[in-house]
């Protein structure tokens, strides 16, 4: 049962990450494979502030989100001119650069040794050290961000995003500065990743550069595509199904030395199958 709570926390964080990516791909048509990097910026900020300077977690999270958003602002602006495949490539490139910085700026991040011992959040004397309490925190955050996202996509801002997804040229003809909207949603998505990354750090109590490289970004991409683009329930279902699938593998009794490769095999086949037979995913409204 306790392990189930552990999985539930993993699920809510994955769903959170996936919703942020869905806002980018599903609603705006921006295929970014570097979301994990922004989570990393926030996670490292939180880890350093809470351990070195004993800053309260929630304030540290705010700092992390701000830093992640700032990074996204710069990156988003630099990449705003890229189109289609080049955009994807640019984000892959940034993902590698961010990973290099996490890995090699060792005086700040500890490099490959990572940062262990990240404390659980505390507020007004109440500590979220118990997993059940932490689950309440993550589910609550997920719910909050879900509502925010719903507000965004149903607003006029959201309508412009969907228009950009369908035809960016047309949108500018009508007088909307597409650049502004794309940048705004990129920063918003990065801020959400910042919240998720900040929660991820004390959950595992340990972070290292490998948690925020290209592979985790591809994992989030798989979740979003599986669950369905362009709908907010899609990422949640996608996260649930993928985690259930992976844990199911663990319990299916495959010898431990092949389970990692089997996981990869399943991801790969899933992506191919989805693209061939159901590119809108399970619940999606936008076919890539």
């Amino acid at each position: 049962m306790e392990y189930f709570i552990h999985l539930a926390i993993l699920f809510s964080l994955s769903a959170l990450f996936a919703i942020s990516l869905d806002l980018l791909i599903g609603y705006t048509g921006l295929i970014s494979v570097t979301q994990a990097s922004f989570g990393g910026v926030s996670a490292y900020t939180v880890a350093l502030l809470t351990i070195e300077y004993h800053v309260n977690f929630f304030i540290a999270m705010l700092a992390g989100v701000l830093l992640a958003s700032l990074t996204a602002l710069i990156v988003g602006f630099v990449f705003s001119r890229f189109r289609g495949d080049y955009y994807i490539l640019g984000t892959i490139g940034f993902s590698y650069i961010a990973f290099s910085v996490f890995l090699n700026w060792q005086s700040l991040t500890g490099g490959p040794l990572g940062i262990p011992g990240i404390p659980r959040p505390e507020i007004f004397g109440f500590a979220f050290s118990d997993n059940t309490a932490f689950l309440a925190l993550t589910i609550g955050t997920l719910g909050l961000l879900y509502l925010c996202s719903r507000f965004i996509v149903n607003s006029s801002f959201g309508r412009v995003l969907k228009a950009i997804r369908e035809d960016e040229e047309a949108v500018s003809v009508f007088g909307y500065r597409a650049l502004f909207y794309k940048l705004a949603i990129f920063v918003i998505a990065a801020a959400m990743m910042g919240i998720g990354g900040a929660l991820y750090a004390p959950f595992l109590t340990y972070i290292d550069p490998f948690a925020f490289g290209l592979t985790p970004s591809i994992y989030i991409l798989t979740v979003v595509i599986l669950g369905g683009l362009g709908s907010l329930r899609g990422p949640i279902v996608g996260a649930g199904v993928l985690i259930a699938l992976l844990e199911g593998l663990r319990f299916a009794g495959f010898p431990p030395d092949v389970s990692a490769q089997l996981q990869q095999l399943i991801y790969g086949l899933l992506l191919v199958g989805l693209m061939l037979y159901r590119p809108q995913g399970l619940l999606g409204e936008f076919r890539l």
Partner: protein, 288 residues
């Protein structure tokens, strides 16, 4: 300055490897118009086929190597026939095909790991390797072969594309597939053969790398990314451009880490990518 000749030699060696991948990638891109991530794994397949035949079953190299190239070509062709062609027929966007190729890549890589274990294995013990000093820089015989192959492939492809009927058809398809179809060219066949040739070249690269250093199931991805950087720097769709762009990358990487520490090598490569994407996305030789 006694370091300079060796630095140049190192740049040429690495550039040659990247060039083989860049040219083959560019060739495939010019007809199929999407970033084929699975191209990286065809290199690994070539190498592992030779490993399987020559090392594990004692097949003489003279037979094993062509079979390795053929295996890579076959896998590339199968991906095109069973997956990409269907997506193309449906009018799927290049992003969809990219994601499908990503899935294929992940799945194939996992299968290699399951079959051969993810441990490093090498072909170099199957041949005796001699070293040569040329102009102050040291090369091994395998490295010279890689360099010679890159030049041979560049020339070969140029001749093929400029002077054969097949080559003309390829150029027609890459210019405008719709018009080519109207004129009576069987675009699917042309694309299929082109993909096979490109994958075969990648397979050759994988085999040569297997002799120079060794094989790992994960070797394909970073090789491919470097190949793509080379292609973009040189000019996507141009074989000679990819050739030169790849060597440029080799030089930038090696001279870059001469001044900066070795761990930033990948970050340097991807920064080069982003610089080109920003300021000259058509590359040095590309047509816009």
């Amino acid at each position: 300055m006694d370091i300079l000749p060796q630095l140049i030699a190192n740049s040429l060696i690495v550039g040659a490897t990247y060039a083989l991948l860049a040219m083959s990638f560019s060739l495939i891109y010019s007809v199929s118009r999407f970033f084929n991530i699975a191209h990286g794994v065809t290199a690994a397949i070539g190498g592992y086929t030779v490993l399987y035949l020559a090392k594990l079953h004692g097949v003489p190299l003279a037979a094993a190597i062509p079979l390795g190239i053929a295996a890579a070509a076959l896998v590339g062709w199968c991906l095109e026939f069973f997956i990409y062609r269907r997506l193309r027929a449906r009018g799927a966007s290049s992003a969809v095909t990219l994601i499908a190729s990503l899935g294929a890549f992940t799945a194939l890589q996992a299968m290699l790991a399951l079959t051969f274990t993810s441990q490093f294995q090498t072909l170099s013990n199957l041949v005796t390797i001699r070293t040569f000093t040329i102009g102050g820089g040291i090369f091994t015989s395998v490295q010279l072969i890689i360099f010679a192959s890159s030049v041979a492939v560049c020339l070969g492809l140029w001749l093929l594309l400029s002077y054969t009927k097949f080559g003309k058809a390829v150029r027609a398809v890459s210019d405008d597939a719709e018009v080519a179809k109207i004129v009576g060219i069987n675009t699917n066949t042309i694309i299929g053969i082109t993909v096979a040739i490109g994958s075969g070249i990648a397979g050759l690269a994988g085999i040569l790398i297997g002799f120079d250093t060794g094989l790992q199931p994960t070797m394909g991805f970073i090789l491919l990314l470097k190949g793509i950087i080379g292609t973009i720097a040189g000019g996507i769709g141009s074989i000679s451009g990819s050739f030169l762009g790849a060597y440029l990358l080799g030089f930038v990487e090696n001279f870059g880490i001469w001044q900066i520490s070795g761990e930033w090598k990948d970050a340097i490569a991807f920064t080069l990518l982003i610089v080109f994407l920003l300021f000259r996305p058509q590359g040095i030789f590309g047509k816009k």
